[in-house]
């Protein structure tokens, strides 16, 4: 990969603050409202504090809170884990797994949750709309 491909600018106006770091629950999820270009959306924010033995790169993930299998907003209340090396969340209702990285459902290739870029800025959590 060339250096240019990595270059991206964080333009401040597409990012918005969502909540405080203290609102998060380590190794688990919380739900939040986000204003997106397609209107307001419920997002699930997962916080996986980096640990010694882990190779994982990201600490924060944002996915749809909406579970397409149950049509209920419950994803943030799922259990976190990893399946074959990728971090996933299991839907609390019917237990399908969704990859945190890209929202892909592991049981059904046609189902994918939306994902957003999310990062800490100081003690705040910011998301790209």
């Amino acid at each position: 990969m060339t250096a240019t491909a990595l270059k991206h600018t964080v333009s401040t106006d597409t990012w918005q603050p969502l909540c405080a770091k203290a609102d998060l629950v380590a190794f688990s999820g919380v739900a939040a409202w986000l204003n997106t270009s397609e209107g307001p959306a419920q997002v699930a924010i997962f916080y996986l504090p980096r640990q010694r033995s882990q190779g994982q790169e990201k600490e924060l993930y944002a996915l749809d809170h909406f579970d397409p299998f149950s049509n209920a907003n419950v994803i943030a209340r799922g259990i976190i884990g990893d399946v074959k090396g990728s971090p996933v969340v299991a839907s609390p209702l019917y237990k399908q797994h969704f990859r945190l990285e890209d929202g892909q459902c592991l049981e059904d290739e046609d189902v994918k949750l939306r994902t957003w870029k999310v990062a800490f800025r100081g003690e705040e959590v910011w998301v790209e709309k």
Binding site: S28, Q56, I79, D82
Partner: protein, 835 residues
Amino acid sequence: MATPTKLIIIGNGMVGHHLAEQLVESGALERFEVTIFGEERHRAYDRVHLSEYFSGRDADSLALCEADYYTNHGITLRSGEAVTRIDREQQTVITAQGSYPYDQLVLATGSFPFVPPIPGNDSEGCLVYRTLDDLDAIQAAAKNATNGVVVGGGLLGLEAANALRDLNLDTAVVEFAPRLMPMQVDNEGGELLKEKIEALGVQVLTERATQRIEPGETSRLRMVFQDDKVLETDLIVFSAGIRPQDTLARECGLNIGERGGVVIDDQCCTSDPAILAIGEVALWNQSIFGLVAPGYQMAKAALSTLTGGDTHFSGADMSTKLKLLGVDVGSIGDAHGTQNPGARMFRYLDPITQVYRKMVVTSDGKKLLGAMLVGDNGAYDTLLQYYANGIELPKEPASLILPQQSGAAPALGPDALPETAMICSCHNVTKGDICTAIDGGAADLANVKGATKASTGCGGCTALLKSVVDHELEARGVEVDKSICEHFAHTRQELYDIVRVEGIKTFSELIEKHGNQDTHCLGCDICKPAVASILASCFNEPITDAAHVPLQDTNDTFMANMQKNGTYSVVPRIAGGEITPDKLVVLGQVAQKYQLYTKVTGGQRIDLFGARLEDLPAIWGELIEAGFETGHAYGKSLRTVKSCVGSTWCRYGVQDSVGMAIKLENRYKGLRAPHKIKFGVSGCTRECAEAQSKDIGIIATENGWNLYVCGNGGMRPRHAELFATDLDDEQLYRTIDRFLMFYVRTADRLQRTSVWRENLDGGLEYLKEVILEDSLGINSELERQMQHVVDSYQCEWANAISDPDKLKRFRSFVNDARPDPSIIMTSERGQLRPA
């Protein structure tokens, strides 16, 4: 393509259905245009498990295929349409609705129950036991009845007796022969069986020939016997044998056996080559086969005949293993030793534990010709293999039926079986077939089942199949992977021991020290809740503590049960089902205030549905204020102790069942286990609390309490087994302490006590040795552990609402306090429910 052959199958029973399934699976269907006629209104169902209809299964769950199976495969099923005549000349079948031409016809009409020609046998209240409709009729008749009689003490008769008993009727069995199950057991066995069955409260009358049935005085009917003795009863179920349903065949002039049955050859052809017969209607080599496995083999032979193959029917083994009224009965080969001149017999009779075993061997003592078991079928699988495969008996053949030191049945290891050993007779799967499947890529039990269909019939071969598969996999160097998931190369039991021995108190420490290093070390939704449960069983720290909360399933995290729209149900503990009016009022007020749907549960509590996540703390605040505590309905833990009112109110009660239920519920509440645990306590043998369907069932006796264990309701009901009798209160607690802790320690994840018990090597005997005789020397430790759990109990909700950090999670959204607008309710019967 050539025009398809018009194939008509008469009878949509087990065997007729099996033929259709074989046609589908063999791919031969495209050459046929198949029409099936079924006289019953239900599509083919599992008659073998018919009696489960009374223990909760319905027509749909007993059905042998999905409702659209036939249509999906282009087969026409005409249910509720009986064939009334076969016109062989025109090659048509005639029904009330029309006539239908055939090129090939298959008779799979089964049999009908034989009703002895006794005057009055058609009175109201005289019934039979064969179809779902029969069972509906029995159920309806039982509504206004207090007692019932089964005529016929054979296999089906005893099954019918059990059903009547389950319907709460005082039940009697009337048998013409001098003993029960005359076909399967001898005099000794019959006597033992009779004792066992009478101990269950079923009256057994042998050598009784009913002369007539007339209106009764105290009951609906009266039976008059040969000696003019009488028996009054409200209903009579005839189960005096079956007769082949061969009327159609008779009337169109096919060859019929002297005592009924459509004569077939090895190809299943009748005397008219265009007509085949299979299942219980068919007579092969002078024999009718009244079991499903031979019927399935005939279906396979018939398929082969229809498609030009060369699979023949060559007879079938009639060995059977049954549990009748909870009593094991097994019969293998020549169980009476009457078919083999010179045969010798070994007999073992234990009048105390009521076990009888008999072996019939060749005169040189080398081969097993037959066997009979009453009271314990533990040796059945092994004996059957000796018999079916002609394996040479050990030097001391008696060792096979004598009690073993360890209590375990003398198992014939899978490696001793020849390739031809029949493992699953329902689907004709041999050990060789299993090896072929494994060599063809089936790398675990599930895949072997998928590839061979073994153990998907009557299920009798499950244990044997598993041991053969495990053995063959191991022989091929495949390590049988018992790991709980990809994060730990350990079973739940091993993890439990590690946690206990090393005193590990958190998931992160456990995965750090004992997890697989190549994964991300996050764990997953399999191992995390399992470890959370182990930690709770061992240390009983609050599950919502920061270190434990990410491990929990959503129900444990939020201490409520998530329902399908993402709201929760709230179930406060109502120990023993006893609640004061004041508390009842509070429940009503809380439900009104938070607009909760209320329903009484099967466990004698009140369930409040539709609570929003963000309302849970406030709801619990009010409930705790009123003196309620959490009911753990969300946890894999003790749920409820159901009780009847007992001696306090009930005129039959012999002990205070409610008092005991409350003591037990308070003792074991909060105990986290591999799966949920339910108790029941009844105040007398009438068993109104249904304790025998619970993990722990307690029934009051004049002298104390009888303890039953490992029962289950739910998907696979199982009667609890009597474990100890006449215990006083203290003995009862100690025994349950040990039993539960032993279960917690050794069960697999999500394994109820019933399944755990079925998989326990050595079975009930072993369990009794461990718990009652302390054969492993662990009882004081088990008791200590339980005492720790009891002493460290705290209400999880009380703990959570006093901790602002824990309450942080109970917010709809971290950046908006408003509720989730997409939860929409509508009202029905005066309450709210999800729209």
